[in-house]
Symmetry: C2
Subunit: 199 residues, 2 copies
DNA sequence: AAGCTAATGTTTAGCTTGTCAACATTAAAA
DNA sequence: TTTTAATGTTGACAAGCTAAACATTAGCTT
């Protein structure tokens, strides 16, 4: 039997934790106040002592999911030294995470317009940005391109992950070779570009 | 005053129509059975004579949104003859639509894993695919690359649109110049690629 | 250590939704 | 015209979110 102390100890943390578990299993479907409260063996109203509303709780879980993604990317990129390999590893891990943990990924980028508390997204974008900065230091791209390149690379891996993970009958396949193909093409868009190739 | 004939005439169509209007205005927030039924001045239960469940109604609206996107892309690409311009126009219109109609776009790609009835997605992907086939006919890419190129291009425009339309504080900006930049880089990834550039 | 106070949970209850079952109305077929 | 199938409505119930009022306890204050 469980100890039923009136106070839970650290409910906020527990809610996010169990929320992550649910997200991993079923995406955003079971992230409601009532459901999560039940899993932590607490009254739904207790949740409101820690989050202004259910949406805020979801936002907190979403944030956590984004940080998980960032951790994995950081870990993957840390194993590489060559700039190109770093670039590839960053994108590859983003895609891998999205496909290996579709629930977490969908929660991480849960229709942002409806979620509050989106101040800090240090995570994935930050790591990607660092990788691009390295490209700049190596002289592979110009300083003023950094921003555009980061957005370009992010768009590719994000789009590919979303589509490959969708139920669309014509979605991209995600065999390792196909992923490498996409990353290789992204690399070209990054390095082969110059202002002159415009128009 | 309104005529209150017991039968509505064409409720199914009316529901999807008003659903599109709501989607355009507020995304997926107000696409519930009760709300839409109210807007058409009908009892919630009437909806179930036309859709097995609320999710199916949402799916129908989502499909409609996807077709709207496809129509605009078809219209945009029809104005061009040059293959590169066709390619650019296709992607540009995809992005424009997503940013001009964020509500519709988010509903169009509403977390697919939770929606039924996703058999046919003829639309956007089909048009993009035709554009890529043209590239092939012009000898700009090899036939066996068509699939990969289509997925690559789709990933970029989809990812860029999602991110630029998000609330992320570091989201890509979507000024016309930035959009052209992304499309130009995508073009490089499409045309500069060869099996040899691997590894 | 006794007592106050704020933090944290609970109970109760109201409102909104989605959906089942049973019934009502009407358009279309026989 | 009568039967029948399609289409809407009413009523009811469960589930979810959350406001208000009340209960318990952790921790500081003295």
């Amino acid at each position: 039997m469980k100890k039923k102390s009136y106070h839970h100890g650290n409910l906020e943390e527990a809610l996010i934790k169990v929320g992550m578990k649910e997200a991993k299993a079923t995406g955003s479907r079971n992230l409601g106040v009532t459901h999560l409260a039940k899993l932590v063996d607490v009254t739904p109203m207790a949740v409101y002592r820690h989050f202004p509303s259910g949406e805020n709780l979801k936002a907190a879980i979403s944030q956590q999911a984004r940080e998980e993604l960032a951790r994995r990317m950081a870990s993957a990129v840390a194993k590489e030294t060559d700039v190109k390999r770093k670039f590839m590893a960053t994108g590859r891990e983003y895609i891998r995470f999205g496909l290996a943990e579709p629930g977490l990924f969908s929660v991480a980028f849960l229709d942002c317009s409806e979620l509050p508390n989106r101040e800090d997204n240090p995570s994935a974008r930050g790591i990607l940005h660092d990788t691009i900065l390295d490209l700049c230091n190596e002289g592979l791209i110009e300083p003023k391109e950094v921003q555009a390149v980061a957005h370009f690379a992010w768009s590719i891996v994000h789009g590919f992950t979303m589509l490959a993970g969708s139920e669309d009958p014509y979605r991209p396949s995600a065999r390792p070779g196909d992923i490498e193909d996409v990353l290789e093409r992204a690399w070209l868009g990054v390095t082969q570009y110059s202002r002159d190739s415009k128009k």
